[in-house]
Amino acid sequence: MKNIPISALIGLILTALYFLMALLAPLIAPYGMAEVVGDVWEPSSSKFWLGTDNIGRDLLSRMIYGGRTTIFIATAATILSFVTGSVLAFFAAVMGGWVDQVLSRFVDLIMSIPTLIFALVVLSVMPVTIPILIVVMGLLDSTRVYRLARAVAVDISVMDYVEAARLRGEKIGWIIFREILPNALSPLIAEMGLRFIFAVLFVSTLSFLGLGVQPPEADWGGIVKENKEGIVYGIPAALLPAVAIATLAISVNLVADWVLNRTTSLKGGRG
């Protein structure tokens, strides 16, 4: 693991820290998530490192728990979108014909409506719970994974070495897992980072609009919403969770960038 550029190293460390924080939230948070422990919008002090929020809860504790929720939802949605998107894409690419046509046109249709608007429309009639958020986000985002994975798979499946495997008489499993997948992996992994960032931003935006995680549960977007009135009075409490979102997203982006650059220069990498 030598030769990691400094930017990727920072990204890697920050990402790891955020994930650790999410896993260990109950152990490291100084107060309970919904526990009112002080006055409204107290400034930062030795008691409350980041001050208190709009109803006097410890902001640091709330952000630690909030990060846990945000990261959990984003991770689950990313996994869902990846599994759905890439399985369907490989299926479409290998089957071709009408299966490919139907799937691809349906994805085109979903993508003709902006994702946020579509999510808002669906969430207007569905009860907003965490599982439903994950499913809606994951499925909407799987369209993008589908597009990329299908393009990559189609690119590879017309390569002469795949044709050579077909002419050898290899089974479809060998062709997908031994010939296509190893070559499709690096763009897909880099894309996974980008999809995760998108999921973090998406769930934060929904919560910020009041249509994501519902109080008293908290996530970073929701904490911004709770404290946004303070901005006008010069109280920066709403900025902190927003900064947390941004740093997490940038960290993952740096890692994804590095993965993409590194894998293309691997032994046997294409190009």
Partner: protein, 318 residues
Amino acid sequence: MHPVVKLVAQRLVLSTLLLLAASVLIFAGTTILPGDVAQSILGQSATPESLANLREELGMNDPAVTRYFNWLFAALQGDLGTALTNGRDIAESVGQRLSNTLFLAFWAAIISVPLAILLGLVAVRYKDRWPDKLISAVTLASISIPEFLIGYLLMFFLAVQLGWFPSIAMINDDMGLLQKLQSIALPVMVLTLVVLAHMMRMTRAAILNVMQSAYVETAELKGLSGFQVIYRHAFPNAIAPIVNVVMINLAYLVVGVVVIEVVFVYPGMGQYLVDHVSKRDVPVVQACGLIFAAVYIFLNMIADIVSILANPRLRHPK
């Protein structure tokens, strides 16, 4: 028929079909999914009779297909129905808000498009040197930052701390243009920042693509000056990809507007949509969803048509 006319006509038909399909999707999304509008409106404590009455009133006992066509034909005639929450005509409420949103988006576009193209050119001119690297670093950061953070940061520093701009963007018909512009200065700035990075990066890629082509080399080997090469040979070929980039980003801007309007409490479509999603006011959500989808599909269609019109192979068939 000239192939360009044919292709443009195809695009128009395709976009219309796409919009129609989108309307089905929006209607289905709000009807077939296992939520109950009546229940949502009346809450958990509603009696079965009041629920049944409301369902009857909303026409929810008709088959879904009938309701869809009723809704669609009404919408085509400009009748978007009435809001459940306050019983007001949706088309009326939407009219003013749509024009407010377009006003905001228009000014954001006016500033961001030339700026993005200019900075894209700078990035190409200084490729792999510090201006280019700075631009790509800023791009990386700005696609990672949520829109509302940019909004609150600017609001916090420029409006609250420095007091240069109002922190809330109120506009109404009594205001003059200058007053309105001052009022929307902050949201316009945020929207500009939000789309600028994407637009700049895509413009850079589009121009680089053209500058690396063999005919630009031919032009250089003719002894033309840098300006002549760009003006005569690169520009005519770069215009289509750039317009494409601009349109795609304007479509993106239309979505970005939703969040920004909420941040600045701006009386536009986005604010209206979000309010009524929380209130589970399905007819309003359907109407707004349809309008946003239409704008989005329209802009993407323009992008496609421009690429068709700018393609010399299609304009001058064999």
